[in-house]
């Protein structure tokens, strides 16, 4: 808990305080645990994805259009999140907040389409209790969605702090950590996109 501060102007702000450095390292390790968590969910989903009992097959209900919109929104949000951190490095608080706000908007859009899609599946007779395969689907994709939801709240809180306090070693470390989190969700989505949606549609149609 020492608070040694580095004043080398080349060090990014978020790495200047000892606490900032420790928190960022700790968060990387936390992401390691998150990888283990999602890996377990993926493995579960893979094992169960063909066990559809009397329910519909997974690929049968997937829709390309919604999938592409969701993917587009989330990937773009990861990009704008990167721009936000870039602005932070340039000490441009306004730029940071603007790009982060756009990131949040895109995240909300993603959630909107995801929820629409879930409602559509439920309408078509596929819910968490339909079959093992659908249980696996809803919990894996839903866990990712819950992470996005939490991320939106979290980033909002951090932005309020940036607005109130400006960029300090403490606030910038928080921004940086939330950005790591956001990119991580993007990476997980790429796996969901491939392993769940693409593979589901290929096995169903091909």
């Amino acid at each position: 808990m020492a608070h040694a501060e580095t004043h080398d102007p080349n060090t990014p702000l978020e790495y200047r305080s000892e606490t900032g450095r420790l928190n960022i390292l700790g968060f990387w390790i936390f992401l390691g645990a998150e990888i283990a968590l999602f890996a377990t969910l993926f493995a579960t989903y893979m094992v169960l994805s063909h066990r559809i009992a009397d329910g519909p097959a997974l690929g049968e209900l997937f829709e390309v259009k919604s999938l592409l919109i969701q993917t587009f929104l989330l990937l773009t949000s990861s990009f704008t999140c990167g721009l936000a951190v870039h602005e932070m490095r340039r000490h441009n608080v306004k730029g940071l907040i603007t790009w982060m706000a756009i990131t949040l908007g895109l995240g909300l859009g993603f959630l909107y389409f995801e929820i629409q899609e879930f409602l559509h599946f439920i309408h078509e007779g596929a819910n968490i209790g339909t079959s093992a395969a659908w249980s696996g689907f809803f919990v894996l994709v839903g866990t990712h969605g819950a992470h996005v939801t939490f991320g939106i709240f979290w980033v909002t809180m951090v932005l309020i702090q940036v607005a109130k306090r400006g960029l300090t070693p403490a606030t910038s470390a928080k921004v940086f950590i939330t950005s790591l989190y956001w990119h991580f969700l993007d990476v997980v989505w790429i796996f969901i996109f491939t392993a769940v949606y693409l593979m589901g549609m290929v096995t169903h149609n091909g």
């Binding site: 808990m1 608070h3 645990a33 559809i52 968490i128 079959s131 093992a132």
Partner: protein
Amino acid sequence: MKWDEFFVTGDPMIYGADVSIVLTMVGILFYLTKYKKWKWLWDEWLTTVDHKKLGIMYIVSAVLMLFRGGVDALLMRTQLAVPEAKFLDSQHYNEIFTTHGTIMIIFMAMPFLIGLINVVVPLQIGARDVAYPYLNAVSFWTFFIGAMLFNISFVIGGSPSAGWTSYMPLASNELSPGPGQNYYLLGLQIAGIGTLLTGINFLVTILKMRAPGMTLFRMPMFTWSSLVTMVIIIFAFPILTVALALMTFDRLFGSHFFTLQGAGMDMLWANLFWLWGHPEVYIVILPAFGMFSEIISTFSRKTLFGYKAMIWSMLLIAGYSFLVWVHHFFTMGSGALVNSVFSITTMAIGIPTGVKIFNWLFTMYRGKIQFTTPMLWSLGFIVNFVIGGVTGVMLAMAAADYQYHNTYFLVSHFHYVLIAGTVFACFAGLIYWYPKMFGYKLNERIGKWVFWVFTIGFNVCFFPQYFLGLDGMPRRVYTYSEESGWGPLNMVSTIGGFMMGIAFLILVYNMYYSFRYAKRETTGDAWDGRTLEWSTPTAMPPFYNFAKIPEVTGLDHFWRQKQAGKVEKLKAEDIKPIHMPSNSGVPFIMASFFFVAGFGMVFDWMWMAIAGIIGVFATLFYRSFEYDDGYYVSVEEVIETEKISK
């Protein structure tokens, strides 16, 4: 729901428990109020972020859980003492072995070790604190609340009864109706969050907070074992989190992960459970190995033999621990090839473990051995652990396992490993570091009584069980017939069990006796130790641990300094203001919300669950807005605390 469904009724033992719980609560409230201790309790303990105090709270909780789990054990042994006993019925027996196994592993062994790690590791690496003191408090309180949630099951709603492994479909709504199984799922889930956070916290602490000069290969062995354990925790606990969540969904929201309907797969549970469960066994054994290494080296007056070999074997064990899980269900139809592969990987673990045993023996060879109580526990460990290990290799042979599987042979094996490994280590470590925590040693003479009564009782209890197992007595049976011929050995076993119970009571008496009469330590070096935790000038390190951070030049730095007569005296001019984190009540409050959420889920009262979860998030966000940079301890205060004369 009616009151008599809410409270468990009908059993006189439970009414007895109800009464004693209420009386204890009233007693505590009365004591706190009468002696005006509320503020003290809140300021000194409930809001503390000091790793040493959190460690003590972990240990106190673990000892209480050892009592609870031990009472369960003795109830079972009483029931099994004679054939066709009517002391417990089958449902009650099932509940008791489930709570016994779960409590012993999740709420006793692991927290006990984490408690000792909390107290010792920051001191051993020459740090003022852990990397995230606030998070450390969150870890403790979530563990504690998880344990309490699990424990109240036997008076409110009913205990889980599907075994600590909770195999499906046994643990499903159909076969385990009522809230019991939910307690298991939520209690473990909440405590598991704390464990994962501990894993991250101590990994970063050990990697980043070491004193200057302490390279990785100069770290004491206990710190090393903690480091490896934390890595296992970080990869294993998320698996448990998922497994528990999926079963919770199955039970509360009608999903079909493990159910037989909806094409779910019960074997998926077994796989996920043991993918976590086997590494968990090493989470509770590696820190024990680390402690024995410290103690054996200290009381042989020698540097640990084969330091690097010890470390590499530990890393190997950690890696292997994720590759052997299938040996827990050799007989559930995985096929010959799969069984053979896992049989071989399992046996391979024996090799690095054997390396460690030889290292301990070579450390003692030609050493000046002092037979203190911690050393006795360590020697007892080696002998008994080898017995457990050898029978483990016997179980690892897949073909032979069809014979011993689910018999008392297995029960005996895992108790030899867990008790001789973990429980002996907890006792050894507790006695060894007791002066660091409380400023005096436990009485050695009474301590030796504890050791002998416990160790003899332990062997009397579990050795006969190997023969019962070979004779075909299955585990998890609540009674057996006269004709089976298992009666006499079971009686012997029960007598041994009660001897262990008596040893526990003597241990508690020793704590009381030593509190009253033991000579107080005047220096921090009660055992003439080798590692940095013994280098603090006062018997109990102050809340900031080290007035001046030590500089390390090699393994056993403190010991070599003492040998060379070059222990530096602390000088007033070396002291600078020390930065420390402030206390916080938020972790405690957050954990209370976890309790509300967990309790709501147990009874499927969603309004309550949601309220609790909102509370948890509210505390998280509250903390996010709190900019608390801690405070500085002034030079004068440090000089005063360290009693430096100017």
